[in-house]
Symmetry: C2
Subunit: 510 residues, 2 copies
Amino acid sequence: MIKHALKNRRATDFSAWYQEVITEADMAEESGVRGCMIIRPWGYGMWERIQRLLDDQIKATGHENCYFPIFIPLSYFAKEAEHVDGFAKEMAVVTHHRLIEQDGTLVPDPDAKLEEPLIIRPTSETVIGTAFARWIQSWRDLPVKINQWANVVRWEMRTRMFLRTSEFLWQEGHTAHATRDEAMEETLAILELYRSFSENVLAMPVIAGEKPEHERFPGAVATYSIEAMMQDGKALQAGTTHYLGTAFAEAQNIRYQSPEGELELAHTTSWGVSTRLIGGVIMTHGDDDGLRVPPLIAPHQIVIVPMLRDNDEDAALLDYCNALVASLKQGSAFGEPLRVHLDKRALKPANKRWSWVKKGAPIILEIGGRDMAAGLVTVIERTALYGDDGRLASKAMTPADLAAAAPGLLEAIQQQLHAEAKTRLDANITRDITDRAALAAHFADAAAYPGWVEVSWSKPTGAGLEAIIEELKALKLTMRNVPQGSDAAGSTCFFTGEAAVERILIGRAY
Amino acid sequence: MIKHALKNRRATDFSAWYQEVITEADMAEESGVRGCMIIRPWGYGMWERIQRLLDDQIKATGHENCYFPIFIPLSYFAKEAEHVDGFAKEMAVVTHHRLIEQDGTLVPDPDAKLEEPLIIRPTSETVIGTAFARWIQSWRDLPVKINQWANVVRWEMRTRMFLRTSEFLWQEGHTAHATRDEAMEETLAILELYRSFSENVLAMPVIAGEKPEHERFPGAVATYSIEAMMQDGKALQAGTTHYLGTAFAEAQNIRYQSPEGELELAHTTSWGVSTRLIGGVIMTHGDDDGLRVPPLIAPHQIVIVPMLRDNDEDAALLDYCNALVASLKQGSAFGEPLRVHLDKRALKPANKRWSWVKKGAPIILEIGGRDMAAGLVTVIERTALYGDDGRLASKAMTPADLAAAAPGLLEAIQQQLHAEAKTRLDANITRDITDRAALAAHFADAAAYPGWVEVSWSKPTGAGLEAIIEELKALKLTMRNVPQGSDAAGSTCFFTGEAAVERILIGRAY
């Protein structure tokens, strides 16, 4: 029987397993500051890879990066009523700009109370819209397509690292267009960009589709999401795009003169993905030995662990390893030079090996005196960790063979991770449940892997929708999205029995 | 007489000129949020270039990036007394986590008052030191060398874009070491990294040296800076590194077990540069036609302005331009592919040309029907804008010749900008002033270009130092730094007449 690197098993306590991966892979830790985490180098390195690759795509589609203030005056926020309702309950409020000492302790200085409180941005539609109103005068100024990488704060009562923290890192795109059609085209183009990024870069298959009415971004006309399936069968909303119509433009006075001389409201969009993606990567690719990082976002793709013995032979071994690093770095995978790391820490080699297994480095090389004498390296693939005998699997290769094979191996690992997750996603969307008893039964066994259920529905609104939401809530279920291209023609609504108009995914969710 | 692109002249109103460059180059604008600016794409693009190139160097010297919370609990902050004194007067304080509607307006919810106020980080020594105390147990854990790119807030009463804003962007490095020598080595190594980065990447010559005692970072044992000379002769402190001794380690309990089994305090450092560098680049390289961006940090190094006429010939012209873009992008300068931009905006070509002159794109190409017919492009160098006749200078080149010459031209522009600034710096440090009357006379004429004065001094402390500070203040002067390698052996102190120990730079400053 395999002795895994982690104490917790996905199958028995997914939540404890998730937390253990984050700790053991040195990805993040509690900061001591309520609801905020410290992202450590291995976790932050993944975020840097995500940033760089996604940023390239955002720029390639004609968006420019800017930076807007972290503070939003309360009055800005109050302009768009629905938007306020959605956020006002969970925001950090700055009320003072100085501390003074009072009876030996520091307190906010009553003389330094702000006339108008400042909100730490939970999202930047209001402050960016105010700038759009200045920038946009004529149809010639449109479209405006900008993006920013920033920290945002939403006060959260129950937090979970990467998935839900009071402060998190994200990118937020904001655009303004002359027409509804152009704004919708943008909204859907970014949805597709997120979908392909998730599949191709994170190796995380997702379903892209429109959120139901009650799950829209506060103030939006339409919200779209990509939904990923975690290994416990729950959904993770991994990215959203919003068509905001003209409501924000009206509240913020974003108007342009058309070629015909008319003053028209702009149509705006916004869209974002966050450090939550890293939580998705963990719960998509992790196993009972820790994380497995897709090579495209691995801070180090290949890690070399020299079997140093603190003696005279170490110098020769390090020379051998350094030559290997230089040779491997000549190679490239996914159009970029390989990222290779030599771990020279003063720890036992076995501990170092297991630390990289838990961190999920795609390829780990162990090199000892015997390897060197034989002109070989010992290669461990993180995605093929154990042999049929249940023991750690490795193979010996010459440095030259390894250098030639490494790019292809990394690309194969990337594909393997995606294929495993795709198989799991496809196998766990149930489409043949047609009555309430079957639905309840499907989700009754907490230990099973229920995944998602897709049903036809009539898309009711108002009280009809409320009733369905409540009914699902009793089963701890939520509506995820209406997959793109969904067609329910000819069928009846699972909930109301009326003619269905589309199909919608239902599941438990983070 | 040349008709320059800006209304303001450096020589007559440097401050208005600075503001006009920022506006006319579309670098940044007031946000409407007190003390905070919006960094627009051209300004943010420069920051992204600075980030990427500096980040590469920070990583190459063994530092890893992390992310720490924006919030610092008040109690963390209170631990290091000197540090608090230095910052407590200018911090944003979060006191509530929710808003409610009261009499029709939104106000902080009295029921959502935080038990302990949170400070928006003005710098992160306290929160990072708390993590260091957890991470560091043994000498084997040292050194710890981390960095973060983040926004910070220091409440400022008088703000100036890029130079002094309430929120700004920066990197802050934080390290812990076993010994004083190692920590000092780190502090000086980063000082040298900043110096060479400023010279080689920003083309901004600086003087590196130690700050006098009263200009130290709050709580530091020694603070070093790089000081750049702006075109109005004032100094800009462009980056600082701090050796913090063991004071922060003591306050935060950062201790390690030595190989001998003793529990020892770690020695810590911190260091940072910020978006202030962009202000330095403007005031170092700008001229009366706007900014001149060093090619290494130019978001676009070459901008093509097609003379579109909104007729049938535009398509062929754009084909010609696109082929040129493709050809130029094959080339590389400074080890990176050329960054080339085709400006297709629906504006008059002359307006587009001048917008890029004001933005300071290093090379501007104008291409009209006649150029295309002749198989040529019209090349304008931003650093050689006017001919001897005072008219805009350009030369015609074939696309092939241009593609071959462009990398060398960009590298020459980078060097030219540095050489100009270096000549100015060297010419404007006066070293032969030995009495007070001469010093006052030197700085008496506000319209002149007084630059800096370097004098020998005896490095007094306490009341002696205070008296000198006051004396200089009357002339609006401050001590900048003691240049590295400064030697005052055998001379007497400018201020006290005692034996001098080193030489120190004096000047007006931002």
